[in-house]
């Protein structure tokens, strides 16, 4: 079965519908699946619920879907650096569920792993615990967090083989790893598609079973939010 598609629009054909839930990889703008986000914008699909650690910045990444008003609800841990987000959120047009970063990662991992709920100390005694069940294990309180399992996951990898085995590069891995598992329709964009057998089977980050559709999105001009450097010591 062929998993490779010519472009993001083709790869998303037939899987988008209004009101759907999408898990989106990336941390800030690093490792965000930008070709797939562009194709979702172009499709006009709306009332989306998106689980993503961040919400992009104005006009970049998920910021595009906010600008086009396609998003009904965000599930995120941090949403700074985004004026349009702020405007929609404060006016009540956009619903936001704030979720601690580690809890968000685990909720998606749990969804992919068939675990509907798990207990964590994170957020005990805070607003995050409001309305959630509490349980005591060995003298300590924990809250019950629910899994996230989406209609669609969109992720960005570095390389993938034609079977869908995928690897990431450096910290661009981030949420792409758990998000790759948290739906039955994971669509991946990568910088290079290589022949089957090119990636060492011991070094595959996401086995092919999770990747249903695949595109090469190159060439990429990667975004940097805060470019920091140091001076070379003079000789």
């Amino acid at each position: 079965m062929k998993k490779t598609f010519t472009d993001a629009v083709a790869a998303l054909d037939g899987v988008l519908h209004d009101g759907m839930t999408i898990c989106c990889g990336g941390f800030g703008l690093s490792g965000m699946p930008e070709r797939l986000i562009d194709a979702i914008e172009a499709s006009g699909v709306k009332d989306l619920t998106i689980a993503s650690n961040n919400a992009g910045i104005d006009g970049v990444g998920l910021g595009k879907l906010l600008r086009s008003r396609q998003v009904k609800k965000m599930i995120s841990s941090y949403v700074g650096e985004n004026k349009e987000f702020e405007r929609q959120y404060l006016s009540g047009e956009l619903e936001v569920e704030f979720c601690p970063q580690g809890t968000l990662a685990e909720r998606c991992r749990a969804g992919g792993a068939g675990i509907p709920g798990f207990y964590t100390k994170t957020g005990v005694g805070t607003q995050v615990a409001d309305g959630k069940e509490t349980k005591n294990f060995d003298g300590e309180d924990y809250i019950l967090e629910r899994a996230i399992f989406a209609d669609l996951s969109i992720i960005k990898g570095w390389k993938a083989d034609e079977a869908g085995n995928l690897i990431f590069r450096k910290t661009a891995r981030n949420f792409n790893e758990p998000m790759a598992t948290s739906s039955y329709m994971t669509v991946a964009e990568v910088e290079e598609i290589v022949p089957v057998g090119s990636i060492d089977p011991d070094q595959i980050h996401i086995p092919s079973i999770y990747v249903k559709r695949l595109i090469c999105g190159a060439p990429y001009e990667k975004h940097i939010e805060f470019r920091m450097t140091r001076e070379r010591e003079s000789a």
Partner: protein, 216 residues
């Protein structure tokens, strides 16, 4: 408010926090003054820094020609890697944090209560940006050190009987380093104790701007 003495500067506070580092520690440093702790690691002490976006072994900022968009820290700043670095996904990163495998985290705060509650993620009425990984860190890391000014810019005390702001974590903090002094407690059932003062800062100076109960 009294005209409080200045005490330590940002670098001195970071240096004091760095004295808590032990050889072999795995450490997560927050944004702001905590980041400066990396500049003061004592000689003979090897520490591995974790970045919660998925890296162990954070190196210094890169040279201009080594900047890599795929290599950033949790503050979204470009960084470099070290020979012993390792990358992993966000689920693995927070499994480490939540599971208590990180020895120490140094964080900033807006308020700390006398029982160790910490508030550092939102101010009601202001735009909420989210807690990021702060709630996971204060709940999961073995030892939590807060580095903060003793009073806010408007002169309000920050170490208080009970937090007024929404909490990041309840009963989480082990040590507080301010520009004036250091408080610590031996466990989460004990009160904080004043264990150290900046030069020229008296116990009375501290008492005057510290509504929280603590031992001396």
């Amino acid at each position: 408010m009294t005209d409080a003495p200045k005490g330590w500067d940002r670098n001195q506070m970071a240096a004091r926090a760095a004295q808590e580092l032990q050889d072999g520690f795995y450490v997560n440093l927050g944004i702001g003054i905590p980041t400066l702790v990396a500049n003061h690691i004592p000689d003979g002490v090897e520490v591995t820094l974790q970045s919660e976006n998925g890296m162990l072994g954070i190196g210094p900022f890169p040279y201009d020609d080594q900047v890599d968009a795929d290599l950033i820290n949790a503050g979204k700043q470009t960084i470099s890697e070290l020979p012993q670095s390792a990358y992993f996904g966000s689920d693995q990163s927070f499994a480490m944090i939540r599971g208590g495998h990180i020895d120490l985290s140094v964080l900033g705060a807006m308020e700390i209560s006398e029982n160790g509650d910490i508030a550092n993620w939102m101010i009601p009425g202001k735009m909420i940006k989210g807690m990021g990984g702060a709630m996971d860190l204060v709940a999961g890391v073995k030892k939590i050190i807060v580095v903060m000014d003793h009073t806010s810019k408007s002169g309000e005390p920050k170490f208080i009987p009970e937090c007024t702001l929404p909490l990041t974590g309840a009963n989480s903090v082990d040590m507080i380093i301010t520009n004036l002094c250091v408080f610590q407690r031996i466990d989460h059932d004990s009160p904080f104790q004043l264990i150290e003062r900046a030069p020229d800062v008296s116990e009375a100076d501290i008492a005057a701007c510290t509504p929280a109960n603590y031992t001396t």
